[in-house]
């Protein structure tokens, strides 16, 4: 199996914990000098965390890192760069206000003999690097004015400028067009001819199978296996990526959908910035009481935008009609949506859902504070009585309702936020990627909870970046592609392959 080349990078027993979740659990991985090693896994499998550890962004809680057989410990990205490792981040790490050339050479600016910055030299150097990527971006223009795909190319040029022997690419094509991806692949081929080692993270099987020598699969922070490309098939790799046991339990069986509750017709949402295409185009669907509608789509396909538009949380212009229980509604503020019986559990728990400065009870009671007012003042006893019910129903594990919410695990925090919305007694529950960053056990509990709420007659709209989750919970799946509904699949028709095909359809 091994070609006998020297080991460029070895990671042994790498473990990394974040509050409430184990991101990596004793992962061991060896990368040979000069190979292209693909790392595959679902969202949350730990791919990006592993690469952040390799490039010095995060430090591991346990485990050993070796470069060319020498144990190393990186104190930061600078140290990793000195050891010859460069990373192309998935999230763009560019200073938008600076020029392209300044970004490419940030922290390593060429200088003139007088010690001043040598703008001409940095532009030349940036232009050379961009040319090697077959790009015609002007190095002098402001980075923020570029399209996302071009920004991604700048990020790649930045990594190339380090002249690193080991290059980590974290989903580099997620924002690129077909033509740009093809150019990137040609660059990768050139880099390999120069003998560089590449770690390539992706969940696009066609790319992986075109480029990789060997493939490592991660799942839930654990190493599943490493194989050579010739010995495997895309279906097999996908199977290893997904193969979790809880996916076997199908909750949707024997649910009886009631009358339609939420009807959306011809929803269009204009672009966030002029020049970009519309974020939603002619989206229509219906959700019934006691039914879970899943919404699938790639990053940026418009999943969150649909929920935010319905909930009155968007400030952009939109058109279309929304009916709630047969009544036409148009919410200008989340408060109105909340009053009308809508509830929305937001995508990014920390940024959009949690109040770290309030305790558990304060986080849960927030939307129904008027119910705990006694004589004009908040009553802490009444608040405790109010939140006890939903906290018990959702199964939050907390030492006390007055405990700090930041001390709870991700799953329990999410249950608190669901509790908050259950108190408003909604008719429709919008769940935006509710299990992101939550470990497997807590996911199963949340699935059971969502299923129970649905059986109690709630209409649920669920988006997820994980297909098995949608298949486990949904009665129907709506597939989005670039802001349009490209397919609606009943539970019987829906498979991961079909959803993926519809999500990537132009």
């Amino acid at each position: 199996m091994s070609s006998g080349a020297p080991i460029a990078v070895a990671m042994r027993g790498i473990t990394k914990r974040f509050p409430g979740v184990i991101a990596l659990d004793g992962v061991t991985l060896e990368v040979e000098r000069g190979e292209l090693h693909a790392i595959c896994g679902e969202n949350g499998a730990g791919k990006s965390t592993l690469m952040k550890i390799l490039s010095g962004v995060e430090s591991p809680d346990a485990g050993q890192l070796e470069v060319d057989g020498v144990p190393v410990q990186f104190s930061g990205t600078r140290a990793a760069e000195a050891a010859g490792i460069a990373i192309i981040h998935q999230e763009l790490a560019l200073v938008e206000e600076l020029s392209v050339a300044a970004n490419v050479l940030l922290g390593r600016e060429p200088r003139t003999r007088l010690g001043l910055r040598d703008e001409a030299a940095s532009r030349r150097r940036a232009a050379d690097l961009l040319q090697s990527l077959e790009s015609t971006i002007d190095p002098a223009c402001r980075t923020g004015s570029l399209r996302v795909g071009d920004q991604q190319l700048v990020e790649i040029a930045k990594a190339l400028s380090l002249d690193a022997s080991i290059i980590v690419m974290d989903e580099p094509t997620s924002a690129l067009t077909e033509a740009e991806s093809a150019r990137l692949e040609r660059t990768i081929t050139r880099l390999r001819e120069q003998g560089r080692t590449i770690l390539y993270i992706s969940h696009k099987m066609d790319e992986v199978f075109r480029l990789a020598d060997r493939i490592t699969v991660l799942r839930d922070g654990q190493h599943v296996r490493t194989v050579t490309r010739r010995d495997t098939t895309p279906a097999q790799v996908t199977g290893w990526m997904v193969g979790r046991e809880i996916a076997g339990h199908a909750f949707h069986q024997s649910r009886q959908p009631g009358p339609p509750v939420l009807e959306v017709e011809g929803l269009c949402l204009s672009a966030s910035e002029p020049g970009r295409s519309d974020r939603l185009r002619d989206v229509s669907f219906t959700v019934h009481a006691g039914e879970i509608l899943g919404i699938a789509g790639l990053m940026g396909a418009g999943r969150t935008e649909i929920l935010e538009t319905i909930f009155g949380a968007t400030t952009a212009n939109w058109s279309g009609t929304i009916r709630l229980g047969g009544q036409m509604v148009r919410f200008g503020h989340p408060r109105e949506a909340c009053r009308a019986g809508l509830a929305m559990v937001t995508e990014d728990r920390k940024r959009l859902g949690l109040f770290g400065n309030l305790d558990v009870a304060g986080n849960v009671s927030l939307c129904q504070l008027s119910e705990v007012v006694r004589g004009g003042l908040l009553s802490r006893h009444a608040e405790a009585d109010l939140v006890a019910g939903p906290i018990k129903q959702t199964g939050v594990k907390t030492p006390s309702i007055r405990a700090a919410i930041t001390g709870l695990s991700g799953g329990n925090q999410q249950k608190c936020i669901i509790s908050r919305w259950l108190l408003t007694q909604p008719r429709v529950l919008l769940l935006d990627d509710p299990t992101r960053g939550i470990d497997v056990g807590a996911k199963a509990e949340l699935y059971a909870l969502i299923d129970q709420l649905c059986r109690d007659g709630l209409a649920v709209v669920l988006t997820s970046s994980e297909l098995p989750e949608l298949l486990t919970l949904s009665d129907r799946v709506l597939v989005l592609s670039e802001g349009r509904v490209s397919k609606e699949l009943s539970r019987a028709e829906a498979t991961e392959q079909r959803i993926m095909a519809a999500a990537t359809a132009g």
Partner: protein, 422 residues
């Protein structure tokens, strides 16, 4: 299982028990008072306890009134830099109203009558509401950052107050003037009875405490400061909550402005309240408010104001003449020390160094120079040299110790978990 642990009695008693940082402030206040009582060569805390107490109480009440406003704005996740200028504007509006309604009496230093005084004070408070509303509009509708919006009013309002003062005196009195004397006996009563501002301060503190701890609006203020996006998505009308916060901030400053006028018997927009906005923010921050929003209490802010005034008073007792020169320096040092200790108390990090790298090396002589020159100016040249050199030696020793610790830490346990960033 978890429910059995919710002892309501426990949560009740915990609620009334001041936090650790608040106890620390109480102790610090006590220490400052005892220190001053012992070291002061005039022993004024022994010989004139009532006068000393009255001075501190009056100054604390005046600062505390608008420090509470600053705290509410900070807890709501904003900042109000304009309160010093608001104080000047409030005083000017009050005096100008009296001048307009009773020009003869004001010019001849005669009483203007309670009705006119009430109208003047009302006009000041309305001005506070107007300024707060302007802030809220600039921040929520025009979408200026709070820092910029209130920086603009910090410079703008004082200028506006001076313009009002000059044009009203030009129109209503024989000569244009940069100040208006206020001689009504009601104001004199307030000046002579320190308990009035103190009572107003305590009532306002009680009201603010009730507001933050026990009302829906208070919870919404905390939620807004803690996570604005999430607050909006939870259905809170965040723009309205901000409107309230900035109005509260400006109106408490307006109220304080009335007391400044009473205290000094004059509305002088050129200097009144100048720089006071920073004292208010300092009191809130020393009292435990976090400038990133969502965190802070009324008892903390009250203690912060008391602490600040006690320390300033201690310095004036120790230095005797020209102590006001040092006031800003004291406030600066107190803020740095208080916030440093608050942070250290929150998350002790064993790997944290006080004097790392070349920056640390450069800081040693700077700190030594500051301590040395301060002591030299207040206690004589020789004492200054001695303390300066001692500080330098002590810091150098700390630096060497830290370097050794780090070297030792590097040698052992390569994979030790480092302090995780949250």
């Amino acid at each position: 299982m978890a429910q059995s642990l919710w002892s309501k009695g426990l949560s009740f008693s915990k609620r009334w028990w001041p936090r650790q940082s608040e106890w620390a402030l109480v102790v610090a206040i006590g220490l400052a008072v005892v220190f001053t009582a012992v070291v002061d060569s005039n022993h004024s805390y022994y010989t004139q306890p009532l006068e000393s107490l009255r001075d501190i109480a009056r100054n604390t009440a005046l600062l505390g009134i608008f420090a509470l406003g600053a705290a509410v704005v900070i807890i709501a996740g904003g900042i109000d830099l304009s309160s010093g200028s608001m104080i000047a504007l409030s005083g000017t509006v009050c005096a100008t109203t009296m001048l307009a309604l009773a020009p003869a009496e004001v010019m001849s230093f005669k009483p203007v009558g309670p009705l006119i005084v009430a109208a003047a004070c009302g006009a000041s408070l309305v001005t506070g509401f107007v300024v707060g509303t302007l802030h809220a509009w600039l921040i929520t509708v025009v979408r200026l950052p709070p820092f910029i919006a209130t920086l603009a009013t910090l410079v703008g309002l004082r200028s506006f107050a001076r313009a009002i003062c000059e044009s009203s005196t030009a129109a209503l009195t024989p000569t244009k003037s940069a100040l208006i004397n206020v001689a009504d006996p009601l104001f004199k009563t307030v000046r002579d009875n320190v308990w009035i501002p103190v009572a107003v301060f305590l009532l306002l503190a009680a009201f603010t405490w009730l507001l933050l701890a026990r009302t829906v609006l208070g919870r919404h203020l905390q939620a807004l400061g803690g996570n604005e996006q999430a607050a909006r998505l939870a259905g809170i009308r965040t723009d309205n909550v901000k409107w309230f916060a900035y109005c509260f901030g400006a109106m408490t400053a307006a109220l304080a402005g009335l007391f400044y006028v009473a205290n000094e018997a004059v509305a002088a927009p050129v200097n009144q309240g100048r720089g006071h906005e920073l004292n208010a923010i300092a009191a809130a921050v020393v009292g435990g408010c976090s400038l990133s929003g969502g965190v802070g209490t009324v008892p903390g802010t009250v203690l912060g104001a008391v602490f600040l005034r006690v320390v300033i008073d201690a310095v004036s007792k120790l230095i005797k003449t020209g102590a006001d020169v040092y006031e800003g320096l004291i406030v600066g040092i107190v803020v740095v020390l208080a916030v440093t200790f608050a942070q250290a108390g929150g998350s002790p990090r064993p790997d944290r160094r006080l004097l790392p790298g070349s920056l640390g090396l450069c800081t040693i002589p700077i700190l030594a120079l500051v301590v040395g020159s301060l002591t030299g100016m207040t206690m004589g040249g020789r004492a200054g040299i001695v303390t300066g050199v001692t500080t330098g030696v002590l810091l150098s020793a700390l630096r060497i110790w830290e370097s050794r610790q780090q070297a030792a830490g590097r040698r052992q346990a390569p994979a030790a978990p480092s302090g995780m960033q949250r």
